[in-house]
Amino acid sequence: MSEPETRTDGKTPALEMGALALLVVVFLIVSLVRLQPFSPTADTASAIGIIVAAGLTFVMYSFLYRDNPLFKIAENLYVGVTLGYGAIMTWRLSLMPEVYDPFFNSPTWGAFWNSALHRTVPIILGVLLVTRLSRKYGWLSRYSYALMIGWGSGLAIPLTVHSYILQQLSSAIAPFHETVAHAAAVPIFSQAWFFELVLPALGAVVVMIGTVAVLFYFFFSVEHKRVGGAISRLGIFFLMVCFGASFGYTVMGRMSLLIGRVQFLLYEWLKIPK
């Protein structure tokens, strides 16, 4: 988030406070009229919830005008609520079924001893993990981290080689193989020959050249001069187009989030028909 702006517009605080008070009154009137939370047929908790949600939405958007105390309160409240939610869900969905239930809710003694056999060591390792917070006993957490990091690293090597390297190299070469395999079946210089063989093959060549150029750009053990410099420059061009495409999609993503909030305000707060 950008730094709070210094006051340069000469407006007095009284004017801004007055505008804020007016906006709050308008918001409350609109909410009460559209949602009618206290009417006999209304679901009061749900209606008040929508009013609170809409209010928090506007408070968050007030940051666009200026960083302000209301925004900071909402921001910190959100952090606290998220932490509390995460704690409860971790208890309900992780610690209770994995640590509490196997010992205190075992259906049989057999199940209890099975849990004791399989779960005692990971529970101890889990407790040791938390010792990371202690300066004196933090070294105990190294056993838990060693296990997790070691397992993750060992597993990462074959899976990364297979899924990221071999599969990608295979798909880079596959179009050429398909072109060669189907070339005999398609009459040369025909429309099918051009659109089904030549164009895809050209596309695959472009992709192959781009991939090599980008890889070469990131290879710093060789100086990027003359031929190397030209390949590196080509890599930069491919990267620029890629980043441009990513930026285009990022704009789409951010606008979608705004559209989502506007839909909430219009359909659920103002009850505009869909």
Binding site: Y78, Y85, G86, W139, C242, F243, G244
Partner: protein
Amino acid sequence: MVYKRLIPLLLVFVIGLLGFVQEFVPHPLSGQFREEMTMWFRVIGGFALFIGAYSLLHMHVARIRRRMAGWGYSVFVFLGAAVMIAVGLHNGGLGPLAAEPQDRMTWFKWGYENIQVPCSATIFSILAFFMASAAFRTFRARNVGAALLLGAAVIVMFGRVPVSEAVGGWLFGVGHSGVFPRAADAIMEYPNLAAQRGIMLGVSLGVISQAVRILFGIERSYLGGSDE
């Protein structure tokens, strides 16, 4: 010291080697070992929350204790967390050991749906405004690279929305309404694919070399703490 440094490093190597080898061993024992280890990490993972929670709360306690600028707002972090934990444990009157009731709204669900969800959804949507402002004030094609970036961005941005089909039909004729979407697809499936594949291959090689360094004890930053 042996038990503070050497044994954890040996543990990394042994477990890492076992993790690597079990991928290639089809014997049922290998599958049972994998199932056991993955169950262990499921259990250990549940304790990781305490570390994150402590770090966050410790930071805000320090702000309050030292009366740093804006310390009053940190009180709301504790307020929000305390209330959510209290209503979560209350669990609609059923207590912390029961499943969440499905037949009615609880204060916990209310807090999630009406505080966490709107704040979370709104805070990232603010970036839409910043993006528009930055697009006008700072996105300039001052060189070839920047021009390529902006050109690709404009084509993809425009090609991925329905209005581009209407504009394409108006500019090039009804049968060619797909010009802009096809241009956007071409950018995604050729130069974007090439660059993403190159980045992916490079990153994968880096991941493998880092994993090997960790297994052989060359990379030790995960151990944390001092060099004892």
